[in-house]
């Protein structure tokens, strides 16, 4: 490394320059959605619907509202026509379906109505057309809003990018200040910031490149940046710190670089493998949103590891003792500090400390027992976001269920308008209408309760010539070939648990009646998404736990230490999950953190956090235990090794944790609640791990386990050199 230092720096510089050109393009490859998968029933329902009725595309609603005019009045219609007219000139717009042809698009009060605009763009990229739609609306005295999933994601992307800029603007300077406080010298503090920045820039450029071949979610951007910045700085800090330690011990620059890479660099690799394992576990999920965070996270972790083990040593090799130049102050770092005394104090009373801390963490985690998991809708956006305002207007004027109805897509071999099919749909429609969880049902045989089954059968008898215009319109909309769709508007928000129960009830009814029916749409999609997530989550957890266990077992040549590390990590994670429930579900500190509590935890959050934080908080365990293992290998007793390990790593782990916490807290300023929660959750988990688990629980458990800490089957012993 020493010999190739300039080449390595040049390569990183080149990568950084290329990266700077690629980073602005990252937004263009980011896709909306990512919450669907072929295997879930809601997706199968959509596929069946599209096979019969044609592609749904990405319908966008242009919502008109007036306080006094009604949608059936000529003036309202004329104003809406003027507003809509220019949209047809946009090349991407394939159709505008006005409300005057569709009674269902007029609210019961008549003061609000919407036109449906379909665009010839893949749904995942439809959010790119939203600004053009807004700019091209004609002048009108009506209140106009643009609504729909594409608009939601357009707002999400805009907010996400603004969040990212704000988080970087806050996180980087604060990280630099923290590092200056830690190292006291500008070069030492600057290297981790440079490494963190390089990890993000090169990582995002790599994502742009990989994004040409695979999908990346809008949400991946912030998570990748957080991980890149946090880990890049974190790992570099360990190396810079170790390098300074080696220089202080009288080694030459070349020797110090070599030892730094061999010890701290090796620990970084194993630590990075733990983080990589966690984030890679997201790739087992079918949902693009999680998968892309997993892929993006893995890429950026690899780059952070590479930066720490190549760029940072090269920089240190160039700087040599000048790493301590330009001192601002002289911090008290190094092995002689209070951590050893703390470790001895804990290990004198290991049982009370173990019980006390464990109880404390369990109590912190208890709120997680009343967690409510759901998936987000537009209510995750702030009330001043344009798509949120449109969503709220539609919800108020049309009812909760209208904005995200359920779609029941049925196939009838003899045709959906046959007497038998109408009877089956009439029966289901009646059952749904009598259910308190249902506000409205639109189906071939659910037009109006006052229409009798024989009347329906008579109306549909001559399908091409249905006399009643309303019923004819219903049939034209809801029946095609041998397929029909029934639209069910729940009486409660699609994210409420009652809708999940309703979906399950419809599927039970379907099974009991032997109908060939698939349930899709808003609440079903959310329910299926959450169900599938938490069917796969235990697999991801098992992968994370077992791979981490194996990695640590190889590193420490022990069975008990990795097991202990894994279990303590789970405990500290649950504590941070409990805090998240209190904050983001129950609304504690919502005023301080500036958000509207959702009343639930966004479904992907525990999974993303588990995957991210398990590796992240394992970091400190790895660095601590590496130092403990070094001492143990040097011939110290178990108790002394723990004390020495804590003493040698105490300051640097505290500093590293501080940097990560600062970076994560910068993301708490985000407007998107999911990003805010990832930032806060990560900060809490790192704090709990660095401040409580590492300093109290690890010494206590290692004292209690004694020689068992180092037990390993004979075949494992001697196969690994261990760290020196």
């Amino acid at each position: 490394m020493f010999r190739w230092r300039w080449l390595v720096i040049s390569l990183w510089l080149a990568a950084g320059v290329v990266g700077l050109f690629a980073v602005p393009q990252v937004g263009s490859i980011l896709r909306a959605g990512g919450f669907s998968a072929d295997g879930i029933e809601a997706e199968q329902a959509l596929a069946r619907y599209e096979a019969a009725f044609g592609d749904v595309g990405a319908p966008i609603q242009i919502v008109f509202h007036h306080d006094t005019l009604r949608a059936n009045e000529p003036e309202f219609v004329a104003q809406a026509m003027v507003a809509l007219a220019p949209l047809s000139n946009l090349p991407e717009v394939t159709a505008v379906l006005p409300f005057w042809d569709q009674p269902a698009q007029v609210s019961p009060s008549g003061s609000t109505a919407y036109a449906m605009v379909t665009v010839d763009i893949e749904p995942e990229f439809a959010h790119h057309i939203v600004p053009a739609l807004r700019e091209n609306l004609g002048p009108t005295d009506l209140d106009v809003h643009v609504a729909g999933a594409a608009v939601f994601y357009a707002d999400i992307q805009a907010l996400s990018e603004a969040d990212l800029q704000r988080s970087e603007a806050i996180g980087l300077p604060f990280a630099l200040i923290t590092l200056l406080l830690v190292f006291g010298s500008i070069p030492a503090a600057g290297i981790p910031v440079l490494a963190g920045g390089a990890s993000v820039v090169v990582g995002l450029a790599a994502i742009w490149g990989v994004g040409q071949f695979t999908s990346f979610s809008i949400f991946a951007l912030n998570v990748v940046t957080l991980v890149g910045l946090g880990l890049g700085a974190d790992y570099s800090l360990f190396l810079v710190s170790r390098f300074r330690e080696e220089l202080a011990d009288g080694r030459t620059t070349a020797e110090a670089v070599e030892r730094t890479v061999a010890t701290a660099g090796r620990a970084v690799v194993f630590s990075g493998l733990a983080v990589l394992t966690g984030l890679s576990s997201l790739m087992i999920f079918e949902f693009m949103m999680l998968r892309s965070i997993g892929v993006g996270g893995a890429i950026v972790v690899l780059i952070a590891m590479a930066a720490a083990t190549t760029f940072v040593p090269a920089m240190l090799a160039v700087l040599g003792p000048r790493v301590n130049a330009w001192r601002i102050w002289r911090p008290r770092l190094g092995p002689r500090n209070g951590w050893g005394r703390l470790a001895h104090a804990v290990m004198r009373r290991p049982v009370p400390v173990f019980l006390g801390v464990t109880t404390f963490l369990v109590v912190l985690g208890l709120p997680f027992l009343h967690v409510r998991i759901s998936a987000p809708d537009a209510s995750v956006l702030t009330t001043d976001a344009p798509s949120r305002q449109a969503f709220d207007l539609l919800r108020t004027e049309f009812g909760e269920g209208h904005v995200a109805p359920l779609f029941l897509v049925s196939v009838f071999p003899e045709g959906p308008l046959s007497a038998e099919a109408i009877a089956a749909q009439h029966r289901l429609g009646r059952a749904l209408k009598e259910d308190p969880r249902v506000a409205r049902v639109r189906g071939l045989a659910s037009v109006d309760d006052r229409i009798t089954l024989p009347q329906y059968q008579l109306l549909y008898r001559d399908a091409p010539a249905i006399g009643d215009p309303y019923v004819r319109a219903i049939a034209g909309t809801l029946a095609r070939g041998n397929t029909s769709v029934m639209i069910v508007e729940p009486s409660v928000a699609s994210i409420s648990p009652e809708v999940g129960e309703l979906v399950a009830a419809i599927r039970e009814y379907r099974d009991a009646e032997g109908l060939d029916l698939l349930v899709g749409g808003g609440g079903a999609g959310l329910t299926d998404f959450v169900d599938r997530l938490y069917t796969d989550f235990p697999k991801a957890v098992a992968i994370i736990l077992s791979v981490t266990f194996v990695v640590l077992a190889i590193l420490f040549r022990s069975i008990v230490l990795p097991l202990k590390a894994v279990l303590l990590n789970v405990l500290s994670l649950l504590a941070s999950f409990g805090a998240l429930v209190l904050v983001f579900q129950d609304g504690w500190l919502s005023n301080v953190l500036r958000f509207e509590p959702l009343g639930f935890i966004e479904a992907t959050l525990p999974i993303i956090l588990f995957a991210l934080l398990f590796g992240l908080s394992m970091d400190y365990e790895v660095f601590l235990l590496s130092r403990v293992k070094e001492a143990y290998d040097e011939g110290h007793s178990n108790t002394d090794s723990v004390a020495i390990g804590l003493e040698r790593s105490g300051s640097v782990i505290t500093s590293a944790a501080l940097v990560v916490i600062v970076v994560c807290l910068a993301f708490v300023t985000a407007d998107i609640v999911l990003i805010k929660a990832v930032g806060l959750g990560a900060a809490i988990a790192v704090f709990v791990d660095a401040a409580i688990v590492r300093s109290l629980l690890v010494p206590a458990t290692m004292r209690l386990l004694g020689r068992w800490n180092w037990w390993a089957p004979r075949w494992m012993s001697g196969t690994h050199r261990g760290l020196r």
Partner: protein, 363 residues
């Protein structure tokens, strides 16, 4: 303690996995047939106003004369459709049969109004056309591309309830209320080719509403006759697919307005001629022999014009024939009337419709 932590995590995951159980299954109660005996009696003039039912219409037909004696027939009808949670739908048809010129012209309109309870007064607009309750009667306004009609309609006989109570049981398809003002003094103006011509004559107003959309699988024939001797007659014949009569009833109103319900056995209607539409190819009856033996009444009913077919697929989805007819007996003119014929032009067998109609506002 570590074991407890692990168990706790497992429990948490289990709770998460089981968060979408069906707490309450869907339940279907058997449908109860509607009992028309529970319907309240018709109360007028209150029931002239719109109702919250699936289907309602106000049909006005009549014969007018200009001051110069130029004879006209007219049909003006407003349909109202109320469907659960949907804006109220309106459609209207207007036809003028210029008997003197031998011309038949018609037009149609549609509109939507807000959903919710109907207004307490009859005051309906379908685009620029309207029907309103006025003191002592009704007024209508309607137009054609080159003509318009504005009339005040003052009933000279009280309303008569059909089927004795004014309720028809279309079970299992539904039910309806049905009454008519069989003799109505009509006065107003006819605007044509820039000229305003006062007109007057006699009209017939039908008002029917209820929870039904379509009755009879084969269509129906409807007759209204105003006789010179002061009596009035109406009849409805509902057919099934095979042209079998599934419902037939009539009402005979005497000179002072007293109605007599006629069952199917008390009168007969026999088509005497047929006419094939050059527009749609449909074949309609085009002349009838009506006999009411108990009243010693025999009527030959002949259209003033053969071609009084309306293709209203753009508004109500049907093609039907409705026209002014002359009523004779033994070659003597004894009255006039209107006839409506539906079900003779199955839309699925017709060439595509060419008419379109732009939706208008309601009031």
């Amino acid at each position: 303690m570590v074991v407890r932590a692990a168990l706790w995590m497992a429990m948490s995951l289990w709770l998460l996995a089981g968060c979408a159980d069906a707490a309450q299954p869907l339940r279907v109660d058997p449908a109860k047939p509607f009992d028309v005996a529970t319907l309240p009696p018709i109360s007028l003039p209150r029931d002239d106003a719109p109702h919250d039912n699936l289907t309602e219409w106000w049909y006005v037909t009549g014969h007018l004369q200009t001051e110069e004696g130029h004879p006209l027939g007219f049909e003006f009808v407003v349909f109202e459709s109320m469907r659960e949670g949907a804006p109220t739908g309106y459609a209207a048809h207007f036809a003028i049969t210029d008997i003197g010129q031998g011309e038949f012209t018609y037009a149609e309109r549609t509109a939507t109004g807000p959903s919710g309870p109907p207004p307490a007064e009859l005051n309906l607009c379908v685009s620029e056309w309207s029907i309103r309750r006025i003191p002592g009667g009704f007024s209508i306004v309607a137009s054609l591309p080159e003509a318009a009609l504005q009339l005040e309609l003052l009933p000279t006989k009280p309303a008569v309830l059909h089927n004795e109570t004014g309720v028809l049981d279309f079970s299992p398809f539904g039910w309806s209320y049905y009454y008519s003002y069989p003799r109505v003094d009509a006065r107003g103006v006819w605007l044509k080719e820039g000229l305003t011509r006062p007109v007057q004559g006699t009209a017939w107003i039908d008002h029917q509403w209820g929870d039904f959309i379509s009755v009879g699988t084969g269509g129906w024939d409807w007759f209204s006759v105003q006789l010179a001797d002061g009596r009035d007659f109406t009849a409805s014949v509902v057919r099934d697919d095979a042209d079998n009569i599934v419902m037939q009833y009539g009402t005979l109103v005497d000179e002072v307005g007293a109605p007599r319900h006629l069952t199917a056995r008390e009168f007969s209607i026999q088509p005497t001629e047929a006419w094939s539409s050059p527009h749609t190819g449909a074949t309609y009856p085009s002349g009838w022999r009506i006999e009411i033996p108990g009243e010693a009444l025999r009527m030959n009913v002949q259209p003033f014009l053969k071609d009084q077919e309306l293709d209203t697929r753009a508004s109500t989805g049907v093609v039907y024939w409705e026209g002014a007819v002359e009523v004779t007996d033994q070659a003597q003119r004894i009255g006039h009337g209107y006839v409506e014929l539906t079900g003779y032009a199955p839309v699925s067998q017709l060439p595509p419709a060419t008419n379109t109609v732009a939706p208008g506002g309601s009031c």
